[in-house]
């Protein structure tokens, strides 16, 4: 499952761009909002890519 730390996030928007079904951005400061913490199928693949691309290290993927 996805874990996101909005304190670490620098709001680059890579996650919302890469996996829009899984991640969104807070309207005030652009920090990460998780829409779906346990994505499946293609969304899970996109989410893994977003975790890899995240520039600040705010995202992690924990196998549960």
């Amino acid at each position: 499952m996805i874990e996101a730390d909005p304190e670490v996030c620098i709001a680059a928007g890579m996650c919302a761009l890469t996996a829009p079904a899984v991640f969104d951005q807070n309207d005030d400061d652009g920090t990460v909002v998780v829409l779906d913490g346990t994505p499946q199928g293609a969304d899970a693949d996109a989410a893994r890519e977003a975790v890899e691309l995240c520039p600040s290290g705010a995202l992690s993927w924990r196998d549960s």
Binding site: I10, A11, A16, N26, D27, D28, D29, T31, E49, L53
Partner: protein, 393 residues
């Protein structure tokens, strides 16, 4: 010195051959100010350095990479000017960036799409009316991002002659310290006056919002305005100009884009990777000893991170030296990495997608109006690109 940063290009689109030919991902490099530091050329180590808080961005610790001033090297070694968050570390950096990030989200930028389409269409229509031939840089590549960032920030576009001149002067590597200093003071003076005017007369734009927010001083907002204005038009303008040149030199790729055989989104990522206009990359300075790639970077030593080399790393990108719009260029470092990754990247993406798609659609017979070797290249500027791009159709 033989281990300065290689800067001599032998091809319009490839980084300097010396930069790519050395297989070591990390090697010693002498900075232009004489500092003995390091050069990183692999994708893996570039990401590692840029994501590591032990490598600082603070201006006080900054070394000069190339032997000429550029916008952020003018003041290397001195304390950061107010609001210049790109040369600060967290938490100062975070405080400034957080005040801006809400304006640059994917959703917020997507809302600008109709206006960006309109600006692109108007400029392409005007170019068609006045040609052929035309110089694509002043007709299209420069004015589109310049107008977009002006409207977003709330900078009157009518003043463009002044700020475009100052910006160009700041990014020229052959400018003297005095010329660059004059341009910096001129642009700072202009923006400072603009922000005072917004204090008297509130405006519904990014700078007006910062003034109304009351959290920042006039000097801080001026610094932020300076960064966003310079970064907001020079980088995207050069991607549009150089990207068009690259597409004209790879006509099969341009056809694939026009005919919809590759998506414009993927095409833009591949052009960003392949061209990487921030040609001298970025630097960080170790604030403690760091083990990196089998070496010890000693506290106080600076590391130059070559973004163009990292984006051509064959270990990360198959066929790295080939422009192929169908490549999966995801993970490229054209916008950097770490907490300083480009604030305006979603805006840049939208401008480039709209710009290249419209150009391909509306000018199907676009071609160079001069031999390719006569296109003047910006090897002499901090941001790479073309000075002019004479085209016909």
């Amino acid at each position: 010195m033989t281990d300065l940063l290689p800067t001599t290009r032998t091809d319009a689109f490839d980084p300097p051959a010396e930069l790519l030919s050395d297989p070591r991902p990390l090697r010693r490099m002498t900075f232009a100010d004489g500092h003995r530091g390091w050069l990183v050329t692999s994708h893996e180590l570039a990401r590692a350095v840029l994501a590591d808080a032990r490598f600082s961005s603070r201006q006080e610790l900054r070394r000069v990479v190339v032997p000429r001033p550029s916008v952020d090297e003018l003041q290397a070694g001195k304390p950061a000017s107010p609001g210049f968050f790109i040369v600060m570390d967290p938490p100062e950096h975070t405080r400034y960036r957080r005040l801006l990030t809400g304006q640059f989200t994917v959703r917020r930028i997507n809302r600008l799409l109709p206006r960006i389409r309109q600006i692109v269409t108007e400029h392409l229509d005007a170019m068609r009316r006045s040609g052929p031939p035309a110089d694509l840089v002043p007709a299209f590549a420069l004015p589109v991002p310049s107008l977009v960032i002006c409207e977003l920030l709330g900078v009157p576009y009518a003043d463009r002659e002044r700020f475009q001149r100052d910006t160009a002067e700041l990014l020229r590597l052959d400018a003297t310290d005095e010329q660059a200093g004059t341009a910096m003071n001129s642009l700072t003076g202009y923006l400072s006056g603009l922000i005072e005017a917004k204090r008297a007369r509130p405006s519904d734009d990014l700078l007006g919002g910062l003034v109304a927010g009351g959290e920042l001083t006039g000097a801080e907002i001026t610094g932020i305005a300076f960064l966003l204005l310079v970064a907001g038009h020079e980088t995207t303008a050069n991607m549009l100009g150089l990207g068009t040149f690259a597409l004209l030199r790879h006509p099969a790729q341009f056809d694939a884009l026009r005919e919809g055989r590759v998506s414009v989104d993927a095409a833009v990522e591949e052009l960003l990777r392949y061209l990487t206009v921030v040609q001298f990359g970025t630097t960080r300075t170790a604030v403690e000893d760091v083990e990196l790639g089998g070496e010890t970077i000693t506290a106080g030593e600076s590391v130059a991170v070559s973004l163009p080399a990292a984006n051509r790393d064959p270990a990360r990108f198959a066929g790295a030296d080939t422009l192929d719009l169908a490549h999966d260029a995801s993970g490229h470092l054209a916008f950097g990495h770490g907490v300083h990754q480009c604030l305006g990247q979603q805006l840049a993406r939208i401008e480039l997608r709209v710009g290249f798609a419209a150009l391909a659609e509306r000018f199907p017979s676009l071609r160079l109006a001069v031999p390719p070797e006569d296109v003047p290249l910006r090897g002499d500027m901090a941001i790479y690109g073309v000075h002019r791009l004479p085209v016909t159709w």
